[in-house]
C-alpha cells in the first residue's frame, strides 16, 4: 500500500510540532494502528477522516495521553511524549514528564464532559487556577473573555444541565482553549449533537481556526466543515494513512478507491 506523503511534509518533518513515528496500537487482539507516520506543523489544521475502526480517535487520544501506544514514538516539539531520555536511553515516561508535555495539548470531547457540579464560569476557570496557577481575577478575566467569544457570556452562573448540547460543547471548547495549548484536539465534537445545534459549534471552531495560531487535529464526519477549516485532510483506513493532502484535492478528486467509496456515503 503506497503512502502518499506530501513532498513539503517530508522536508518539514524535522520541525514538526507533533510527530508520530511508526506508532502502533493494539487493543487486546485487535491491532487498531499498524505503523502510523504523521507530522503536524505548528499552526496547521488537520482533519482526520475515515470509517469507524480506522483508528482516528485513537490517534488523538494517544496524544492526549489517554491511551498508550503499543510501540513507536510520539514527539511534541521534538521531545518524546511517552518516553523520556535517561542517560541517553529511552525509558517509559513518568507522570511528571507526561504532565510537563501535556501543557501544550488540549482536547474537546464528543460527550462534552463538563463538570456538572460547577457553574459554567467555574468549569472554565478551574484548570487555569489550579493547573496554570493563575490568580482568581486573571483566570476569571480570561474565562469571561472566552465565554463571550463563544457566545455564552450571559450564562456564567448557569449549570451544565441547564444548557443545550450545542451550548455545552461551546463551553467545553472555551474550557480547553483558555489553557492556551499549542495543539487542540477535537474528537467528533458534533456527532452527539442534534442537527440544528451543529452549526453553532462549527462556527466557533472556524472562528478559532482563523483567529488563533493553535494547531488543530479534528476528527470529524462533517466533510464541508473539513473543507472550510482544514489545511490538510488525512484519510485513514485500517490504522494506516490511505491518502492525504489538500482538502479540495482529497474531497473532490479522491484517488484511492476506498476513499471514493467512503466519500460516496456523504454525497447525496
Amino acid at each position: 500500500m503506497e503512502k502518499q506523503l506530501n513532498n513539503q511534509q517530508v522536508a518539514d518533518q524535522e520541525q514538526a510540532l507533533v510527530k508520530y513515528e511508526n506508532v502502533k496500537k493494539q487493543f487486546g487482539e485487535t491491532e487498531v494502528l499498524t505503523g502510523l507516520d504523521l507530522a503536524i506543523q505548528p499552526g496547521e489544521k488537520v482533519a482526520l477522516i475515515g470509517p469507524s475502526g480506522s483508528g482516528k480517535t485513537t490517534i488523538i487520544r494517544m496524544l492526549m495521553t489517554l491511551e498508550k501506544p503499543t510501540s513507536g514514538v510520539i514527539k511534541i516539539d521534538g521531545e518524546p511524549l511517552w518516553h523520556k531520555k535517561v542517560g541517553g536511553k529511552l525509558v517509559p515516561a513518568d507522570e511528571k514528564h507526561l504532565r510537563r508535555l501535556r501543557t501544550d495539548i488540549g482536547m474537546v470531547f464528543q460527550h462534552f464532559n463538563l463538570f456538572p457540579h460547577m457553574t459554567i464560569l467555574r468549569n472554565v476557570t478551574e484548570a487555569p487556577i489550579h493547573v496554570l496557577g493563575l490568580s482568581k481575577e486573571e483566570a476569571t478575566e480570561r474565562a469571561v473573555d472566552m465565554l463571550n467569544k463563544v457566545g455564552l457570556g450571559d450564562k456564567l452562573d448557569a449549570y451544565p444541565e441547564q444548557l443545550s448540547g450545542g451550548q455545552k460543547q461551546r463551553v467545553a471548547i472555551a474550557r480547553a482553549v483558555v489553557m492556551r495549548p499549542k495543539v487542540m484536539l477535537f474528537d467528533e465534537v458534533t456527532s452527539a449533537l442534534d442537527p440544528e445545534l451543529v452549526g453553532e459549534v462549527l462556527q466557533v471552531i472556524k472562528d478559532l481556526a482563523e483567529e488563533t495560531d493553535m494547531a488543530m487535529i479534528l476528527v470529524t464526519h462533517e466533510m464541508d466543515f473539513a473543507r472550510d477549516v482544514a489545511d490538510r485532510v488525512v484519510f485513514l483506513h485500517n490504522g494506516q494513512i490511505e491518502e492525504q493532502g489538500n482538502p479540495s484535492e482529497i474531497l473532490e478528486n479522491p484517488k484511492s478507491e476506498r476513499l471514493q467509496a467512503f466519500l460516496s456515503r456523504f454525497l447525496a
Partner: protein, 218 residues
Amino acid sequence: MDTYKEIIPLILPGLTITLKVLVASVALAISVAFVAGLARLSRFALVRKITAVYVELFRGTSLLVQLFWIFFALPAFGIQFSPFLASVVALGLNYGAYGSEVVRSAILAIPNGQTEASIALNMTRWQRMRLVILPQALRIMLPGFGNNAIELLKGTSLVSLITLTDLTYKGLIIQNNNLSYTFPVFVVLLLFYFIIALPLIFGVRKLEKNASRGVAKA
C-alpha cells in the same frame, strides 16, 4: 401507663451512653471508610490488597464476634480496652469496612469522561479527586452512609453484652429487678431506638431523591 412513666427516667442514662457510642463510632467509621475506600482504588497493588483483606475480614465475620474478640481476646496481647473503647473500635472498624464499599462504588460510578476531561486539563491525580470526582461522588455516597448509620445504631445494642451501660443494658437491669416491668421495658426500648432512627430514615429518603442531581451521567 404509670409503669411507662416510671421506666422512662430509669432508662434515660442508658440513652446518653448509646448516643455517645453512636457518635464516636460513626466518626470513626466515616474516617475509616474514606481511607479504606480510597486505598482500594490505589495505584499500588500492595495497598489495595492489604485494604481488601481488612474489608473482607470485617465484612465476613460477625459484629458480635469482633466485639467480643476486641474486648476479651486482645488482652492476651496486652491490649485492654474499656467497654466503651472496645465498642467504638469494633463498631467503627466493622461499619467502616461496609462504608468503604460505599465510597469505592460511588467513586467508580463517576463516568470516565470526567476523569478524561481532568486529564485533558492537566490536573494532578489529587486535584482530579478533590475538585472533580469526590464532590460528585459524595452526593452518591450519602444515602449509603445514611443506611450504614441506621445499621450502626442497631449494632450499638450489642455493647450491652460486654457490660457497657447503654439503653439495652439499662433495660435488662430494670426488668431483672422487677419482672412485672418486662413487657413495658422492651416496648420502651424499641420505641427509643426507633425514635433515634427516625431522623436518619427521613434523611436517607431525602438523600436518595437528591442523589443523582449534579452528578455526571455516563
